[in-house]
Amino acid sequence: MKLRLKSILIYCLSFIFVALLALPSLAQTEEDCLTCHDEALRKNIEGSIHGAAGLSCLDCHQDLRGVKEFPHAEKLEPARCESCHSDLLPEWQKSIHSRTASLGFGPVRCFDCHGGHEVKPKTDPDSKVYPLNLPQTCERCHLGQVTTPRGQDFIRQYQGSIHFRALEKAGLTISANCSHCHGSHDILSIEDPASKTSRRQIIHTCGQCHVGIERDYLEGVHGKDYVKGIKDVPVCIDCHQEHNILSPLDTRSSVYATRIAGVCSRCHDDQAIARQYGLLTARYKTYAETYHGTASRYGDIRVANCASCHGYHDIRPSSDPKSSIHPANIPQTCGRCHPGASRRFAEGKVHLMPDQVEIPKYRVSYLVKTIYIALIVVIISAFLLFIAADLGRRLLGGQRHG
């Protein structure tokens, strides 16, 4: 009995020995790889989606198939993800990440974003492309070796934006991260008209989340011109900025109550744009001259700014009966701040310009202004004449009366 056991053991051991000798010629298993590669790699793979799916090393490292000499070459070929994920290959091939040669480095591959052995589904909070982690993943290159025409500071601005704050502070996974706006596999240069961030597409890109705002915008005068393809029409990013987009309630926001006039006047005070599209200019100057404008310049946020009267996303011309500045709607619009505002609010011009007062009675205010200036000049000149004469006599004449 004892002898028999021993012979079985010897038999088995010699079989294993022979099997081990024959190993290179046989199909490798993970166990085989682990004779060299450490336990950490194994844990990585087991925790990954590929591990859960039962993929073996050779499913990705296809160039190891049939290799007999070990240890194998130091550098293996990149994993060929497209052998399974074939649907994503054309998207990637179109993207700027596949065409980086002109920038001086190789293409950005799947594992650069998704991770290698540890790759997780995008719904896994540990995934490198999970919404909360994605900015960090992109920033690894875009705050590092990569420079875009706008510079790295432009990319870093995202960290101050309301989108990132929602992501980081509140863990709001639906808040816009890089891929919401730029796309993921099919990411294109901003100069490409098909890019999600191009001027043509940005309305729909922001509209993915801001559905109601996109609808309002398209109904407004800007949106209508946008649909016509006019290139100078403001899109979302022209007013709200891009990476550093902030809440309108944030004092640093470009659309904060006291700053919005500066944004609107970029176009509405521009002579070239005004001439090309038949707009009125001096909108800012004529606003600044009013109490609203002056108070706003001093930081008062209670007074009316451009958006208070004109609306914002669905701005309409005053000829539109649905416009907040249509004469019939003025009492209601002004009444939001001035309770009991009457139709008298409409009897006059808010942006009053000396050269375009088409209705004679509006000229009265300019007449009054001119009269006052003349009066001031005359009276002050008379004062100065009296003073000069008086001083002249006392100082030069040397003759004191009395």
């Binding site: 001093y298 930081g299 011009k349 004062f383």
Partner: protein, 273 residues
């Protein structure tokens, strides 16, 4: 003006009593508060005002101060009107303050006297015949002023007119909803324009005209102290307000004569004798 034996040069007269000085002082405070809190709205591009009003909160305080000072100034004005109407001194001041034809002539004569152009011509022997026949046109002496000269009258009535304009327009700017219930927007715009330009005019008038006349005029430099203690000496009265000086001297002379001729004084003299 010759010295009167009835008024010593060292005698002190009360040109502004305490009530008048307080009214003047309240006016200074409220006027400059209104200027400082109001001008930033007119000159909104001045860096200094941006520095003065760095935030919306300060701007809010600016508005409160402006309206507060306005209310105080109006109260001061009402006090002044009541004082003018109901006190004998106020009524007398008002009578003295009324503009007369003489004031226009005074202004002209003072200017011509200061310029001395006609005297210059006469010295050169030009127009000799004309000046011999009409020595008035040589303006050899300045006009004689009463209690208030044309400068003071002009300032007083400018202030009155200006206050009326500013209170009226300011009231409608304060109550913009009421204003726009009564008037169309273009009329309200005119209120705003008037309020601003009238303020500039008032500010310049005070800075240039009033400051010169009470501070920088060599006659008063560094300043007339009347607004502080209200006192004016007999000498100053004689030099600056000769007609008032004359009037007081005349009153005293009459009183003295009456006293001398009255039965009581006769009796006194008798008793003494």
């Amino acid at each position: 003006m010759d010295k009167s034996p009835y008024i010593s040069d060292d005698e002190i007269f009360l040109r502004m009593n305490l009530t008048e000085r307080i009214q003047h002082f309240v006016l200074i405070i409220t006027f400059f508060t209104l200027i400082v809190t109001g001008l930033p709205l007119f000159f909104y591009e001045f860096k200094f005002f941006r520095w003065l009003i760095p935030s919306g909160r300060v701007f809010l305080i600016r508005g409160l101060l402006h309206r507060g000072a306005a209310v105080l100034m109006i109260a001061n004005l009402i006090w002044h009107l009541l004082y003018t109407a109901f006190s004998p001194r106020g009524r007398n001041n008002f009578k003295e303050m009324l503009p007369r034809w003489k004031d226009f002539r005074d202004a002209f004569e003072q200017l011509m006297y200061n310029l001395g152009f006609t005297r210059f011509l006469a010295r050169r022997g030009m127009g000799k015949g004309f000046f011999d026949r009409h020595p008035y046109w040589l303006f050899t002496r300045p006009p004689l002023y009463g209690r208030y000269n044309f400068i003071e009258k002009f300032e007083y009535w400018s202030l009155g007119w200006g206050s009326f304009i500013m209170i009226l327009t300011g009231f409608f700017m304060w109550n913009v909803e009421l204003s726009l219930r009564l008037f169309p927007l273009w009329v309200h715009d005119i209120f705003v324009i008037i309020h601003g330009y009238e303020a500039i005019l008032a500010f310049l008038a005070i800075i240039i005209w009033h400051m010169y006349n009470v501070h920088f005029n060599p006659e008063n430099f560094p300043m007339s102290r009347v607004w502080l203690d209200g006192k004016i000496s007999g000498r100053e009265l004689r030099l600056l307000h000769p007609l008032e000086y004359q009037k007081i001297a005349e009153e005293r002379r009459c009183r003295a004569e009456r006293l001398l001729n009255s039965p009581a004084s006769q009796q006194g003299l008798k008793g003494e004798a």
